[in-house]
């Protein structure tokens, strides 16, 4: 066993901290809302600054413009960025898309999209869910029909994060009706602005826009923008889901540690009825308990990271870590609201708001985290069936 970062990883962490000192994240303009996952807002400007360091493509193979650095450098980067509260919102999605393109993308995707990702210019929305296909994703109805060298996509996607400000969508479609339930799906990289694409904002309960719904009305997409082979989109998606959940939640532990630090400072600096909040035994115990939860969460993610790095089979580890991440985040937001009392609900920008209103924001956004990317219920079932080998509940109906 060895729970320390290597000397190289520690040196890289120091380099990232130096970069953050020289490039204070607060100076970068923001294009889209922070959904509270810990990766901050969508900021193309900050993404470009990361790209200028070569950090977006640092782990890609050299033949694709990368430096072939080991995967743990990405963990180091994410951890330092999250601890600093930097706006790196689209970064994990960019990495996953790039990995998919490197693994099974067409020549055109590698030539056109990959360099744009490396420059921090391309960001992605996921067109997975549909109004009638949420947890039961495979009941989706969006169809792509072959027409010569093109596919024509028709359907309706929803809950696509940052779709209105990203550059491309990853659209999951059915390409064959005859096939078995898990076959006949294909994934397309669809550039925003393609005729027939209608992207409409959904205002969330925070008052801001994070999600969009996307109407695809005979959207013509060249064949070589298909990601992978026809009919094999589901395999790609399934392989991607664990990675999606891992990279979409890895930075939650450091992000929660950052918020916890703010709450500790608040408790140290606040007196209630003449007694410092930090001396209240209940407050001490709850904050210490949350710090412990966050440390456990970090441990589970690093364990999953070692499995991913070593190519060991992942059955339930990432699903479980995601559930714990999201529920720990909700617990921390709830504790923050308790500690702030009547100041809790004051928004960022309001007079009298404490901690920049971040607790109110994270309280609201955390509600979505146990739903997005696989609900906590679906994932617990995954842990039980895939991880522990319990028998699957019989399906009510469907194509089996």
């Amino acid at each position: 066993m060895d729970f320390a970062l290597t000397a190289e990883e520690q040196a890289f962490a120091a380099a990232v901290r130096g970069f953050l000192r020289d490039h204070p994240p607060a100076r970068y303009s923001l294009d889209g809302m922070d959904a509270g996952y810990g990766s901050g807002s969508h900021s193309r400007a900050f993404l470009a600054a990361l790209a200028a360091q070569g950090w977006i493509s640092m782990c890609w193979p050299e033949g694709h413009g990368g430096r072939a650095w080991p995967m743990f450098f990405k963990l180091v980067l994410l951890e330092e960025l999250a601890l600093a509260g930097a706006p790196f919102g689209p970064l994990a999605g960019c990495w996953q898309t790039a990995d998919a393109i490197i693994d099974y993308g067409s020549e055109r995707l590698r030539r056109e999209v990959l360099p744009a990702i490396a420059r921090g210019e391309a960001t992605f929305w996921q067109g997975y869910s549909e109004p009638g296909a949420g947890s039961d994703l495979l009941s989706l109805t969006t169809e792509a029909v072959r027409d010569g060298e093109h596919y024509v996509i028709r359907g309706h996607k929803i809950w696509s994060s940052h779709a209105g400000i990203a550059t491309h969508g990853l659209v999951f479609t059915r390409t064959s009706r005859e096939a078995r339930r898990s076959r006949g799906f294909s994934m397309f990289v669809v550039p925003n602005g393609t005729p027939g694409l209608d992207i409409r904002p959904i205002r969330s309960l925070t008052g801001d826009v994070y999600h969009y719904e996307v109407f695809l009305d005979d959207v013509r997409v060249p064949r070589d923008l298909m990601l992978g082979r026809e009919g094999e989109g589901f395999v790609a998606l399934l392989n991607g889901l664990d990675a999606d959940r891992f990279w979409g939640r890895f930075y939650k532990a450091p992000a929660l540690r950052r918020v916890l630090g703010h709450l500790v400072s608040h408790a140290n600096a606040t007196t209630v009825r003449g007694v410092p909040l930090a001396r209240d035994p209940v407050v001490r115990r709850r904050l210490a308990g949350l710090a412990t939860d966050v440390a456990a969460l970090r441990g589970l993610f690093y364990r999953a990271a070692c499995l991913l790095r070593d190519g060991a089979p992942i059955t339930y580890e990432v699903a479980m870590a995601k559930v714990l991440a999201d529920e720990t985040g909700q617990k921390l937001a709830r504790l923050g609201m308790d500690l702030l009392g009547p100041w809790g609900p004051l928004r960022a920008g309001s007079r009298e708001a404490k901690l920049d209103g971040e607790i109110a924001h994270s309280y609201l956004t955390s509600l979505g985290h146990t739903i997005a990317g696989g609900t906590a219920e679906v994932l617990r079932t995954t842990v039980a069936v895939r991880g522990l080998g319990l028998p699957a509940e019989p399906r009510a109906s469907g194509r089996g």
Binding site: F3, V264, N268, P276, A291, A296, L300, Y302, L390, P394
Partner: protein
């Protein structure tokens, strides 16, 4: 970073699993849980032949010079088997204290005998307030150098040949190593639900000799012993919770109600998912803390987190196990309660969650001194 045990450690764990499966099967665990001695002398001797009690002790003193991490992985297996024994107190906590003063007379006398398993020692720390915190110790030798008073919750005192007594000496603390046969030492059993054999140990004008003293007063050796004890009891909880998980999942796969295994119902599936999460998260903290301590780095907060977390999570796992098993696990002849009670006992030994969370509270920067923070607030109010 690598979360896997080394190949030597994997070998140690595999051979321990194999040995305990053979010599400490569930029916033996159930028998021992009910008898007065609480453990099997023959099994202890067999463990000694494998070198387990001497794992922490350097070869020069009769041990095999393993690391604390090795010991923790071994104790995890003992927890998995439900093995009752004085191992944690004698071979981990007391041994760690003696190792801090290797040249002191009691250490030279006792370490080889503890390493060979010939003698068993226990630790007498806790007093009337029930806190595993050395700061609260008040027992001290009187003016004539004799010990009067008592200690509570002393584990395995009935089989201990020696007792290490933590006493106050001036402003510091001292450790006395006394044979339990010394005149004036009494051992009264406390009857507990947990299966741990706990005692009140009384000292009635007990003579204390110069050669009973464990070196000059220093908090470090005791702190190391308490840290090792806390880690080992955490390992025992993680091992026991892992066993509960496996027994429970097996039951969920085979118990049929309403025409299908109960594990095919989501209510049971989700309870099992929470169970595995509790066990895995506890183990993640345990291994990281044990590695940190083993490397000789400051591990106080890591150990506190691991012990506090496992104390809650492994107990939750045990209660879930009972719920999933249903009525059968309410029976004495069913093994689940033995593992549950072991976790219950371990969660309290070497500090409960409240004690360890206070260590964490200080480590994350919560001030416990009122002045400075009060002043800041006054300034804020005047803004």
């Amino acid at each position: 970073m690598d979360v896997r045990p080394s190949s030597t450690q994997q070998l140690l764990v595999a051979s321990a699993r194999d040995f305990l499966r053979r010599y400490c099967p569930l029916d033996q665990v159930l028998v021992r849980a009910l008898d007065a001695q609480g453990f099997d002398d023959k099994l202890w001797r067999a463990m000694a032949e494998l070198g387990w009690p001497g794992l922490l002790v350097p070869p020069a003193l009769g041990g095999s010079g393993g690391s604390l991490l090795d010991v923790i992985l071994l104790v995890e297996e003992m927890g998995y088997a439900g093995l009752p024994s004085p191992y944690v107190t004698s071979a981990v906590a007391v041994t760690t204290a003696l190792l801090a003063w290797q040249s002191a007379p009691p250490s030279r006398r006792l370490l080889p005998a503890l390493a060979s398993g010939e003698r068993i020692a226990t630790l007498a720390l806790v007093e009337e307030d029930g806190v595993f915190d050395p700061q609260t110790i008040s027992l001290a030798c009187d003016g004539a150098g004799r010990l009067r008073g008592r200690k509570l919750f002393v584990k395995d005192a009935h089989v201990a040949d020696e007792v290490v007594v933590v006493v106050r000496e001036g402003t510091g603390l001292g450790l006395l190593v006394l044979p339990t046969a010394r005149a004036g030492i009494g051992r009264q059993p406390l009857d507990t639900i947990s299966g741990d054999k706990l005692f009140a140990v009384t000292f009635d004008a007990v003579e204390v000799r110069a050669e009973d003293r464990l070196g000059p007063s220093s908090g470090e050796g005791l702190a190391a012993a308490l840290q090792a004890g806390a880690l080992a009891r955490t390992a025992e909880m993680v091992g026991a919770a892992q066993r509960i998980l496996e027994l429970t999942v097996e039951h969920a796969k085979t118990r049929v109600q309403g025409g299908r295994p109960i594990g095919a119902y989501q209510a049971i599936q989700h309870a099992c998912a929470d169970l595995v999460c509790d066990v895995d998260a506890s183990r993640a903290l345990l291994h990281a803390a044990a590695w940190t301590a083993s490397e000789g780095r400051a591990a106080g907060a890591d150990v506190a987190m691991a012990k506090a977390y496992a104390g809650e999570a492994c107990l939750a796992a045990a209660r879930r196990g009972h719920q999933i098993f249903g009525a059968i696990s309410y029976c004495e002849e069913h093994p689940l309660h033995v593992f549950h009670k072991r976790i219950q006992a371990a969660s309290l030994d070497f500090g409960d969650a409240a004690l360890h969370l206070e260590t964490v509270a200080q480590a994350i920067g919560l001030e416990d001194h009122p002045r400075q923070s009060g002043r800041v607030m006054e300034e804020e109010r005047h803004v």
